[in-house]
């Protein structure tokens, strides 16, 4: 029987990073996207996004940061509801990846 990936209570966690840091610009953008999708009725509520996060593969859940999980869940929800097609999402992701690569090569 498998546990959902967020159910970690009582497991060894190792040292906890208590460093304070500012919210990155892209993290505000994810937050804004989530609120926009909620206000427009594209997703029903936070329970739907939380479900998407808890349905992540355990390896993905562990690998992704807090806002990356929100982004992944929002993407799954919007693709699942047909708001965005998987192909369009992959095209856009690829074009951003290429742009970032070009920027880092400058």
């Amino acid at each position: 029987m498998t546990e959902l990936p967020h159910d970690l209570g009582g497991q060894d966690a190792g040292p906890i990073d208590l460093t304070e840091r500012d919210t990155a610009h892209w993290e505000w953008q994810i937050d804004a996207m989530v609120r926009l999708a909620l206000n427009k009725g594209l997703i029903s509520d936070f329970a739907e996004l939380r479900d998407g996060i808890e349905q992540l593969e355990p390896t993905d859940y562990e690998r992704l940061s807090y806002y990356e999980r929100w982004a992944a869940s929002l993407a799954y929800a919007l693709v699942g509801r047909g708001v965005v097609s998987r192909e369009a999402l992959e095209r856009k992701t690829e074009s951003i990846r290429q742009r970032q690569q070009q920027d880092s090569n400058k």
């Binding site: 959902l4 209570g9 009582g10 029903s44 739907e48």
Partner: protein, 95 residues
């Protein structure tokens, strides 16, 4: 509204189930035995909030569990307890 299935002081076991949806019962508490500390009223079912409003409402209890039964390496006092709120459909009678 139906009468409470459990009363204050009664021993209960927390169900050891793994539904693949959000259910607000941590795995460390599953299968553990405690007793009803208080009845907390009727609240929306956690499993029914995804594209829903939590209906039907179910009775919530505060369950008190000895810490030494939860953590094999617990080094606090024997009288230390954990209070955790668990819904009626997650509680079983202890014979």
């Amino acid at each position: 509204m139906s009468a409470p299935e459990f009363h204050v002081g009664q021993q209960v076991r927390i169900s050891d189930r793994r539904p693949p949806v959000h259910h607000r019962v941590p795995s460390y508490a599953k299968g553990k035995i405690g007793w009803i500390e208080r009845v907390c009223g009727m609240h929306g079912t956690p499993e029914k909030f995804i594209r829903g409003n939590g209906d039907p409402k179910r009775r919530l209890y505060r369950v008190r569990i000895p810490q030494v039964t939860l953590w094999s390496s617990y080094c606090g006092g024997d009288s230390d307890v954990l209070d955790i709120e668990i819904f009626e459909h997650w509680l079983e009678v202890v014979d």
